[in-house]
Symmetry: C2
């Protein structure tokens, strides 16, 4: 699993537009667990494609996107407190 | 390393106050790499103390805090694009 966190400068209309574009791309590949945090199941090729897309969207002087690689046993390496807005993405595969 | 991401409801003065308190606690233990993302070097006892403090601060119906355990080789499991606001916390130990 790749955890993606983004911090986009939204102090201008252009910033807000970038934020929407970044969010749209991240949602395509994963589950939004917080406003700016996504847990994405990506193979290396998919990660490369997504990273390239985000790289073209952002303003590199104002925005920050970070990728944390949690590995395959990622579910054992997460805790949370407060509101839970996530679900196990792999549940979709269970019929 | 424990990655801490928080998403605090800030649609009220109370929410903004909680946000400041949460941020203050996280900064005590780690490095702010994005507005709401902290990379913290914590042993199990320190993690337990911090989690307890945050648990007492937040409104569990409105706020969300997530903890991701990156392990000891965490530096190999991070990539980023755009603005870099982080530094290696362990650099502080080098004289």
């Amino acid at each position: 699993m790749v955890l993606i966190t983004y911090d986009v400068g939204t102090d201008s209309p252009e910033g807000k537009k970038r934020l929407r574009k970044v969010a749209k791309q991240c949602v395509n590949y994963g589950q939004r667990v917080q406003n700016s945090v996504f847990e994405c199941l990506l193979d290396p090729a998919q990660f490369s494609v997504l990273k390239h897309k985000l790289d073209k969207i952002i303003d590199k002087e104002k925005d920050s996107i970070r990728f944390y690689f949690l590995g395959n046993k990622w579910e054992k390496h997460i805790e949370y407190i407060g509101k839970l807005t996530s679900f196990n993405m792999e549940d979709e595969l269970i019929i």
